[in-house]
Amino acid sequence: MEGFTALLRGFEVALTAYHIGLMVVGVLIGILVGVLPGLGAPNGVALLLPLTFFMPPVSAIILLSSMYWGALLGGSTTSILFNIPGEPSSVATTFDGHPMAKQGKAAEALSLAFLSSGFGALVGVITITIIADDIAGFALRFSPAEYFAVYLLAFCAFIGMGGTDPLKTAVSLLVGLSLATIGMDTVSGEMRLTFGQDQLVRGISFLVAVIGLFGIGELLATTDETEKVEGIRARVRLSAVLATLVQMPRYTVALIRSAAIGIWMGLTPGGPTAASFMSYGVARRFSKRRENFGRGEPEGVVSPETSDHAAGVSALLPMLALGVPGSATAAVMLGGLMIWGLQPGPMLFQDQPDFVWGLIASMYIANLVAVVLVLTTVPIFASVMRVPFGLLAPMIMAICVSGAWMVSSNSFDVLLAIGFGVVGYMMKKLDYPIAPMVLAMVLGDKAEDAFRQSMLMSQGDLTIFWSNWLVGTITTLALLLLAWPMLASLMRRGAQLRRRPAE
């Protein structure tokens, strides 16, 4: 019950007028950011981060996390009404959400999406509440070797379970790790990979990279696609919401299954995007109305939405307790934590209980606020999408460019962000995942430090990563995940060979 009293303390922190005001502001900015093309949760958080330096950390994290919830919901809105995913994690929602809207069931689709999101978030945050202390306590036993193994697990999980081309994911990761080494080496003080350029001594800010890759790159990619935006007008009436709410028990199995998938993918760093796709796939596979999927099946909206939010919420726990973010947005928040002077990890739970439990308590309230706000403001935000993209794009671009400048009042950062924008555009066009690169940039230094400390402890002996059952299990699991794509394709080929004679 220790967690429960801590949670009550957290509610005391979160339930102040100031913090509730921040949640409302955060959610509204988040919905806007989620609806606008080119602005998503990761770079929305990156753009807002420099503005939080004057706040106490707990207020800052409440603002940023509320924005994240808003962005997740805003992303689903455009998926359903415009067939344009505002967030990569709401791509799966377009499969059935948009067909539903086209059949005149837009209000039902939106209510379904928001209510399942709310359910996913609730299950996610309850899970966090229950297991947070145990995970933190568990992590207290970690030595550098375990930390490195956990980072390795995070990287390998992206390659093995990310759902994208493993080789391209690996390239994205390795480029991110390389970028993280630029600048002054924390151990020896040597300048690495700067090639005599003073601008590179500080290293490359992950904020600049996120603004470029996710913001500018996304805008360029959207400009590239010719599809005309055809929106469906929708008003969500209270009666429609209530009618949908009554129907929700029909989807109990899908809800629980999707929440479980989402929480698992959030805790192990698969991320919300992979979670929503996996959940959609599983739902289609086990549904009795399988042929209806892709043509406006409500379960095809419920499943990805539930997982998306469950993963988004639970991704914050490994970020806090282990310093390993479960999604790109959590990675940006982790970077923020370090800028605010907080050291993520199990000690955070002992040194800063108000911060940790204030955040967890705020997640209960903010998600409720988010669902209510998004249901009432959908028509307003959807009208933003009626502004021609040609007009919208330069305005968002101006925000991204100004945001890149604000990171450290430096014009080099602006050009760097535009450069990252071009790279992000190419990566998007050629199906390279961007999240691993951001994750690697944030974690790179910590992973390297953990590795060097482990090597120092063992005098360069790699078997330290199997020196006890804990680190051994994590390392082995990581390598298994890394090998998974190869194993899976071998098994598939084997199965095909066996099946062939029967045909």
């Binding site: 390389s178 101006a398 535009i418 924008g421």
Partner: protein
């Protein structure tokens, strides 16, 4: 190999080019790492130890990707006709805007950039264009400088107007 439509080879060229760029970046990382201690120093692995291995891995993975594309790449378009021109129409003015920020401050280039984009790319009327081009910098100024106290880039215009 030149079929009726040369565009279908675009994707493959881009794929190989991207993998090649990654491999070259890996080589730069290896080169940079080699300027440091890549073995053991008094504080454990030297400064170049980790980057060297990351760079080598990157070269390896990118070469595999490149090889796969050359051997088994499927002809496909990189983008629809005219798309790259639209991208350039957004990218080039943005680049000029970004480069102009340091000498001229954020606000004047932003105004001109938005005006140009609204008139030339979005083909909006003068009223809408001017509204967007003026409202946006003013809005950002009020939000960042007045409300939040975070300064944006300043240039000679801001100096002349006395806003600092």
């Amino acid at each position: 190999m030149t079929g009726p439509d040369k565009g279908v080879r675009g994707r493959r060229v881009a794929e190989v080019g991207m993998a090649l760029a990654a491999a070259i970046f890996g080589a730069v990382v290896v080169f940079g790492a080699l300027q440091h201690d890549v073995g053991w120093g008094p504080t454990g692995p030297g400064a170049g130890y980790f980057p060297l291995r990351i760079g080598l891995l990157l070269i390896g993975v990118a070469s595999l990707l490149m090889l796969r594309q050359i051997l088994a790449g499927v002809p496909d378009r990189f983008s629809e006709a005219g798309a790259l021109r639209r991208v350039a129409a957004l990218l080039v003015p943005t680049l000029i805007f970004g480069a102009a920020m340091a000498p001229l401050g954020a606000y004047l280039p932003m105004l001109l950039y938005l005006l140009w984009m609204a008139r030339r790319t979005a083909r909006a009327g003068w009223a809408v264009s001017l509204l967007v081009a003026i409202a946006m910098p003013v809005g950002l100024f009020l939000m960042f400088e007045v409300w939040l106290g975070v300064p944006l880039a300043k240039g000679p215009l801001e100096e002349a107007l006395g806003i600092y």
